[in-house]
């Protein structure tokens, strides 16, 4: 079986996405047991390579691999040979000496997964590369939606709000949400809206006037660097919060709020929403574990139904 990478959401067909979500669902009972571990990937080796800070993604990949009984190796840029100037190609060659089955990588540069993949036999899973893609975030978002809003996501209206220009999450989500039939509207400051993004088949708006139409409101984190003097993406966080921040008064009943985390209270999200049980934010974190277990499992055993999800347990 040739190795299979997951670098971009468009590496997956709709059937692949549905299979991954079904597989993740089949892992849920494992996560409710007292002993939350299955022997499925015993003897397999999974390397987590995080060249950028991460809490959620790195911890959930690490735990997902352990829940499946794989051996894991976690490396960060600080304290590694990268600090001594080793190139990604050489890191790939070095790690390949241990014959890992999967290398999960987060990297600040788009294209890093392609460089890694070209220099290793291991399957590469993208845990975020620059502003390019974050496919596993998209899959866990889809999983949370399916668990909370019903299996059929077709026709659902999603508003993605915030810094679209710098968001790998937005790019993966647009593709994944559309793949499952959802309608995507992007809202944000004109300075943070990539020119030409409409060609992905999304609506673009610069204010929240039509927020009432949304079934799901997906908020993106606003980075403090966007208000640095000279950057001129935003005049202030205060103005961002006034124009694009979402609080309860802006919501109508039934609208569900999502956020990839970490959140900025009082900027893109008001505390009254952050603390409300109706939001899906904590569920997204929970989904991360089941979905990443499914991704690791399918990457190793294959995406065919022959490896039916029932056999997993």
């Amino acid at each position: 079986m040739p190795k299979r990478d997951l670098i971009s959401i468009d590496d997956l067909s709709r059937a692949d996405v549905e299979l991954l979500l079904d597989t993740a669902e089949s892992f849920l009972p494992v996560l409710e047991r007292d002993i939350k571990k299955v022997p499925t990937l015993r003897g397999r080796t999974i390397v987590n390579l995080f060249w950028e800070a991460s809490t959620r993604t790195s911890s959930s990949f690490d735990l997902a691999a352990k829940r499946l009984s794989a051996d894991t190796l976690s490396l960060k840029a600080s304290g590694s040979a990268v600090e001594k100037g080793e190139t990604l190609k050489d890191t790939a060659i070095t790690l390949s000496a241990y014959s890992p089955d999967i290398i999960v990588m987060r990297h600040p540069s788009a294209g890093a997964c392609q460089t890694l993949s070209a220099n290793t036999e291991a399957s590469v899973i993208n845990a975020g590369d620059g502003k390019h893609q974050h496919p596993t975030q998209c899959l866990l978002d889809l999983f949370s939606m399916r668990q909370n809003l019903g299996r059929d996501l077709d026709g659902l209206k999603v508003f993605i709000i915030g810094d679209i220009l710098h968001s790998r999450v937005a790019r993966s989500d647009i593709m994944g949400f559309q793949m499952l039939g959802m309608e995507v509207t992007l809202v944000g400051p004109p300075t943070l809206m990539p020119r030409g993004i409409e060609e992905m088949g999304v609506k673009v708006e610069y204010d929240l006037a039509n927020l009432k139409d949304a079934d799901v409101i997906y908020l993106l984190r606003i980075q403090k660097e966007r208000i640095k003097a000279g950057a001129n993406f935003l005049p202030s966080l205060r103005e961002y919060s006034q124009l694009w921040g979402v609080s309860q008064v802006r919501l109508r009943p039934g609208q569900r709020v999502m956020h990839p985390g970490p959140i900025n209270r009082g900027v893109e999200i008001a505390s009254d929403i952050a603390d409300d049980d109706e939001n899906l934010i904590a569920h997204q974190v929970f989904s991360g574990l089941a979905v990443r277990m499914a991704i690791l499992y399918r990457t190793i055993v294959g995406y065919s139904d022959g490896a039916a999800s029932g056999e997993v347990l």
Binding site: T87, L88, K89, H107, P108, S109, A110, G111, A112, Q114, T115, D129, G130, K131, H132, Q133, H166, S167, R168, R171, P194, R195, G196, I197, E198, E199, M200
Partner: protein, 438 residues
Amino acid sequence: MERTWCKSAPAAEVLVKGGRVVDPEAGVDAVQDILISKGKVADSGKGLKPGKGTTVVDAGGMLVLPGFVDLHTHLRTPGREDEEDIASGSAAAAAGGYVAVFGMANTDPVVDTATVLRGLAETARADAVIPVGFFAAVTRGLAGEQLTEMGELGAAGAVAFSDDGRPLATAALIRRALQYVKVSGRFVAVHAQDDSLFKGGQMHEGPVSARLGLTGIPSLCESLDVSRTLDIAEYEDAAVHVCHVSTAASLAAIERAKSAGVKVTAEVTPHHLTLNDEAIAALDPNLKMNPPLRAESDRKALVAALKSGLVDCVATDHAPHASEEKDVPFEEAPFGTIGLDTAFAVLYEELVKVKAIDLATLVTRMSTAPARLAGLRPPSLAKGAVADLCVIDTKAPWTVTSETLQSRSSNSAWLGRRFETRVRLTVAAGRVAWQDLA
């Protein structure tokens, strides 16, 4: 005035038999023999007989063309001979059918004094397999502050002046450069780019960069600087050459200037003529160049401009990089693709074969037009001319690999690509510079 240098070699004695001779300058497009003797075109016509010691090249079904001239090459010498030197760069050019190339000044040290230029001329005289000449910098160290001694550099043989790789950052600097260059009788070639709009750019700004999440380089970044430069050229009545034009908006500015009588000329690269930004999707660092591959609408406008003559010539912007520099993530890779080995194959197969441009026009834009801009005698196949020609087999499959490329570097946008167009023979300045005879 000597503006190119190459090593000595015996004068060619070659009979090229039965090829399709296309010499737009002479209005020739016919199957003919060409006899080269003592390095000159001694005769042309049917049924020519070889003399004693004459190499006979059976060119049946092949093209016999005036050799090409490249006004925009990075020979990386001095300083980065690991990427290219004058021997390897001129060999790549010869293998691509070129009979003269001109290296840009962004070397280490920069070509900003007559001493450096004379040193390069010496090296070319020892190593170059075809005539090679050099641009000198507009500003010392390409620092954008102090003009170079253009008088002395021009007298030492600089073909023209360019800070290529970097724009002339202010209107005042452009103005002074365009004024002072007149002492040399040569021109300034500009790398048009507004740095404030370029900042952090990775690829053309548009739907593809939006989808990929790469910082965009807007077409405005180039066209604004082209417009400003041409306004200054008009005001100063000075000659200016626009390097590697990549956008339709820049073409519009050039068209306005040309019709206003501004002394502007322009070049376009094979990659901008044949590839667009969609090619970036796989994040292959060999497709990262500056200016970036643009939108399909820009590409089509460039082809139309090459056809009409709005753009005067093809130039490769051959930019070798060491494998360790390019074998990194797309966002960390330097800009540039090599192009000398493949330029004609790319343009013949992508433009001439599909009838986007006719062969005679392509030959003019690759040969006589750039030769005139460089101040060289245009390559000609007329009787009595110094032999500057190439013989091209259009049914000879080959694949672009680090082995088949003559360049020392293999960062080609076409790496792995199969072509059927192969240069069988190049005669430059009357000497056989390349042969790949079956």
